[in-house]
Symmetry: D2
Subunit: 464 residues, 4 copies
């Protein structure tokens, strides 16, 4: 007994065609017309798109940042994901200094196991280096963790030095891993933040002021220089600026292999949201994330980078804190504001509304950016990331005719605001299938059990 989607238009990263699609068990088994069998459930989806379930390459659920813990845990976060059309998330396990990678992974499994509504995997954040860590990188690959992350910011905390970066890059080639980098020069930021605070400059405005785009450019230039010496590929997470994109193209000119992610917030929002220097209004705190929001010309440059094929995945860096009580920790000092904002729920809708409908991307490019490229880069293709025979039936039936406005009070993610409050939304996930399970039906949660499973990802083979 299977399920047949009838009357929709199949969209992959390449193709667009009208066809029925038949699901059996967890898999897509046939594509064409007249493919249904007698007992099949038939779902008529005239006028809808059949797209691969979204993959959010960048979430932080149930993250303890010291002063508080993110508003969303794996349960609420993955529920929001599937509501929004995302069937896979890649979260971060991060080594606390002194911890082994295995311990970090174990901790992350403990938080996520049995509570996820979508499939999930982990990148492993590395915060120090020694021979054991080098050895454990190989173990992680065997555990299905085939991507890593290093931070060039957050001094005295997550930040690693160039020696660690260089060692890890060389090791990544040997073990088949791909390393993502948070590219901001943490040393400069530390100086600027300290200085701002000494001068009494403590409003959210100064969050952006103390992390200028040039510190992103510097960090990107550096890591790509190191990658060139190490002869390793690099993944740049949450690219936010035109200056940063320029650095990437300079390195490409020298032949460096680099893959780039940006986030909806860097495409759609800008730094005017932080308010005035001496604003008594604390609303700007909602947008305190790192890197910070930039200028309109940065938004424009990033859209263009997408068009040129330089930016290939869209993550959200979902890391939600309630405005009340959580963001307010920093009411007297921007540097105390928990960094991050929600996003996992609205990613697909934002890319459809502001990407596809505004003519910035085609709907095939939307699929590539929100799903396929990530699946290939992170070792879960062809199970995830496409509509093809034998692939997991992670399918979103996208209804382009639906329209609404994004508001916090309608959202599933468990946080008291959204940075996109009041934004027009076109389209929505009418049905969502997770490995053949209908988890969303008519836009509502249709499956109360958390069916998400951990993804043992394949090693990185040097190419998307």
């Amino acid at each position: 007994m299977g399920i047949v989607l009838k009357g929709g238009k199949v969209i992959t990263a390449v193709d667009s065609y009208y066809s029925d699609v038949r699901i059996e068990g967890e898999k897509i088994v046939s594509i064409g017309s007249n493919i249904e069998k007698p007992e099949d459930e038939i779902i008529v989806i005239d006028g809808c798109y059949i797209i691969p379930g979204g993959i959010d390459t960048h979430t932080h659920f149930d993250l303890d940042v010291g002063s508080t813990v993110t508003a969303d845990n794996f349960e609420s976060g993955t529920k929001a994901a599937i509501i929004g059309g995302t069937t896979t998330i890649l979260d971060y396990a991060t080594q606390v200094k002194g911890q082994t990678l295995k311990e970090a992974l174990k901790g992350q499994h403990a938080k996520s196991q049995g509570v996820c509504f979508c499939d999930y995997g982990f990148h492993m954040g590395i915060t120090e280096w020694n021979d054991d860590i080098a050895e454990e990188m190989k173990d992680m690959i065997n555990e299905g963790v085939t991507s890593f992350k290093l931070y060039m910011a957050y001094k005295n905390n997550l930040q690693v030095d160039d020696g660690v970066i260089f060692n890890a890059l060389r090791r990544s080639r040997e073990v088949g891993g791909l390393i993502g980098f948070h590219c901001e020069n943490g040393d400069i930021i530390e100086v600027l933040v300290k200085e701002a605070k000494l001068a009494g400059n403590k409003t959210p405005y100064y969050h952006a002021e103390t992390r200028p785009d040039k510190v992103e450019r510097e960090a990107i230039a550096r890591v790509l220089n190191l990658a060139e010496v190490a002869d390793a590929s690099v993944f740049i997470v949450h690219l936010s600026s035109k200056e940063g994109l320029g650095s990437i193209l300079e390195a490409k000119k020298r032949g460096v292999q680099v893959y780039v992610e940006t986030c909806p917030q860097y495409l759609l929002l800008n730094d005017s949201l932080y308010g005035e220097k001496s604003s008594s209004n604390f609303e700007g705190a909602k947008y305190v994330m790192s890197p910070p929001l930039r200028k309109n010309y940065d938004n424009h440059a990033l859209w263009n980078g997408i068009k040129q094929g330089e930016i290939i995945t869209i993550g959200t860096d979902h890391c939600s804190f309630n405005y009340k009580k959580q963001k307010e920790i920093g009411i007297a000092d921007f540097s105390k504001i928990p960094n991050g904002a929600p996003g996992v729920e609205h990613r697909m809708a934002l890319m459809y509304t502001y990407g596809v409908l505004r003519g910035n991307i085609t709907i095939n490019e939307m699929v590539a950016l929100t799903s396929t490229n990530a699946a290939k880069l992170f070792g879960i293709f062809p199970e995830k990331g496409t509509i093809a025979i034998g692939s997991d039936a992670d399918i979103v039936v996208w209804d382009p005719n639906y329209s609404t406005h994004i508001t916090a009070d309608k959202q599933t993610q468990k946080v008291d605001y959204t940075p996109y409050e009041g934004f027009k939304q076109n389209g929505r996930a009418l049905y969502v299938f997770l490995r053949g399970n209908k988890v969303i039906s008519k836009g509502k949660l249709a499956e109360s059990k958390p069916l998400g499973k951990y993804l043992y990802r394949k090693a990185f083979m040097g190419r998307s």
Copy 2:
């Protein structure tokens, strides 16, 4: 009654999966298992790939270059194409000065109509500019000619000045056309050639010497500067050098939208083939083409440009002249040697053998480079360029287990040599379907009628 390919692995620009594919009439109608109907012809292709028919974006068949006419005409050229797994070629109609574009198109139709063994379309070469030509660009779109070509080389012949380039680029935006550019600075070349000849330097060696890579870089830099002012997209044909690729990345950094083609010869051959300065051996003439072959580091840089996604289509610039009698026209003077070399027949095999099997590209990337990207860029997708429901059944069953060596005496193209003589070849087109017609069977021509038809291509919408 249809045809079912059974047991193969479907390869698109994105997907790879085992599945049967069913053809009915000219179209692909279903993909999956158990899709055959009673009267269907079943072709078992265990172990083979099912890939979209190749699209060669750059051929010159039946071209009169003044001193002679190409060895291959549309009949022999397209026959060689399908033998090699290419089901669509895009040839060039070129306006002779004084001629209207319509006349040029008519002439090209006269040469090709009824004799082609694969489907075909035309780019329109423009050699002068006035208000009528501007008007005719629109007419061409309506005639299905939605791409154009301008030459920055061949002074006093095909070469146009910057005013023509700029006018044409602006006009291309209005009418929905995409212009391809032959990027070499013809003025410099003219000076260098004249000088070489005055100095008595007339061997094939001097063909490369008088067209250095820097003249390609200059022309690319210039056309992309002009495109930036005109706010138009550009297609660079037959990129040959690292310097040229560098120019492209510099322009991308400024946001210019540019698409790039290279050819197998620029990936696989180098300028040592021209022989010595004072060689009495005229073999170098076989490689006299423009741009000329470059250095090993250029080959490497172009493969890397492919990996980085900067180069997106592979054409051949097939323009064949027999070594005997034709190339020999220039035996005493390299500048008289008819420019060009054959290639249409071996493109797919070369990209498979030296691209896929050597690890330079994945097989999906091979499909993208040899077919899908071209189909999208040149307005024939999704009819061509993919394996999907509703698409034309332009299908190549690629047998990866076949192996041979390339030699002129086995080739179908009607020319007395191949630049790839003795090259190892892995894989071949076991079956080829052109709009559902089995034109190649077991590697041999299976259909003696020339079934190729002219393609009315769609306008360029600003994106691949």
Copy 3:
């Protein structure tokens, strides 16, 4: 009998020191204290600077532009020069098509001989190419014309194609010449101007609109690419934009040898002076010159280019037309406005007031920019360009304590406006000596005879 300047501070491109300077005949003969001889004339100049007479590398006196002739001829122009502290000007002889270079030079001699108040030389403008011209370049060197000029703008008039540029660059190496380039892509400009006029856009505003900075960048990129192939040095005249400067630095990175001139107007004025699109006010015509005035950020970038040592000479491109009757020729059509503006008289004062006193340059750098570098580059050093034993006594006694405002009614140049009307001026040429002749005394003309002589310049040796 000599002249001794007592109590001043000697300023060269390198040195600043208090010392007396003694002139005998046309030369500087000693520097130090107690150097006067009994019969010497002693001029006490306490508090003043002793600087080398200025060299304006770029003037157009007595130039017939077809519709009219410049307001200043050699007499009025050179009188204005010495009043302003400039003792040498380099004007342009320009070949009319069909004319030999010798004829062009002869014509320029006819206009200038016996009427110049300062010394003078000529650059030779070349507008077409053939073997005779190549031969004549050598003759020009022998006639003391060791620099040339090619125009990349003014289509169908002065503009030459890339073949001429390339030939001339190669020839320049052989004969010891240096070629200056007017870098704007004339083909693009022609298209934009035609289009603007068709659209009825005819106010001065559109002069700038139709010559965007990117056409300067393109032309600079091109000529430096050509120079790299030709292995020749290049002089860029009147650099006006940040984009253009960027092109220069990209070429320097590849090793190209390039020297750059800018003008006070590109440092101090911006395109807001052209007025509004539909302004009924024609004042903008005063600033109609090519390249046009740019943005504030261009001013800033050019000052920075000076600080970095990338821009090494300051010319004026003095080419004056009266606002009344002359500029008004274009009152109904900006493209008819005679291009150019006055400047020779105020160059030194502007560089002192806005360069030295504002901290953009040191006074030594002012000397280098306004005199020494030009003398070296154009083959008149050490006769001109410095204060040293044996050099021509071309000396300006600069009184830094003087202050005034620039106004047209006080000026010597024979034109009815100045682009710097109302600008504060600090300092002035209190005394000016031309080869030992006191031609300016207490700021007034002290010598009614035109003592200027033609300079037979030395060949360019590849270095400033």
Copy 4:
């Protein structure tokens, strides 16, 4: 009573003219003819050049590197300097961690006071950062130490992190200091060295192998990025590579103010001198310095950088260790070889022989590079760096007709080899005057007392 140099040709960074020069006491008092007074000593120097005493911007005398102390101390080093025509050296005082800058300075004074044969000053090496150091930077300016140095290499020793760099750059602007940077990424080097040693690769060959040019490029790119954010000027010491120069030009394009030094060894020697990978010959140790020698194309690029005006001073990084006993410390392990080589004695002769006589630079440029630019940049102009009235009589009478070969057995510097063994030398310092004292006469030491004095240098004003 004075001294008059008669019959020579005065050469400054700008001027070249025949003239007598008169010295009285410590100063140059007149320039011209007939300037001698009755009791003056007359020295006839027909055919010689009168050039400013050389300034070596980069020496390390009496430096304890842990395993040993440099072969040359201030006495032998400065004696070699004046023999070679260098009358000022700038050595490095370097803070040992935990030490105050004042203590470091005091230590350096103790080593140098009363023993120097030429004048001298100190740059201050900073190795850690805190508020006291920031305060002391101001104190250093008051002590005449107006330049500083930070190391990006030598991890766990001299190397500082980006926070220190950024803080110091910002502070340098406030106090009027200029910071020089040793640009190599020490983190990468540490990894590569450790790895090489683990692999048993311990010959001198691996010194270069483990410090590739790309680590210089990275460090330069980084420090110039930081300088841009800090809005501070930067001095790059001992630039060694084409890649590094490229980084500099990219930063200049963004407007960064940067001054660059190179050394004769990077212009004249290359890495073939390190010998083979498994050489039993230890001669390569003589060239073990950091950065290491590079390729021929790097030599060429650096000469070109000089011609373009991008590189403005020539230091030697003189840091001598005897081959016997000292270099041999590392005979079994290249990483133990004391880093450095001698050079102070031959700098002027090398720049004359291989710069001026080979046509790479003019003799004025030689003066600028070896003396004037350094004097201006480091606050000792016009006392040092020129031949002008009122300047210190630090004069070298350069005899261009002398010729010899450089050999260790003839040298004054107290070390058992020279990297330039057997090099042809043209010209020598026939006479050298240090503040009017004839310290070298006929090429020999003429003054047995160490007359050198410490130079209180002026603050950096943001410009050379």
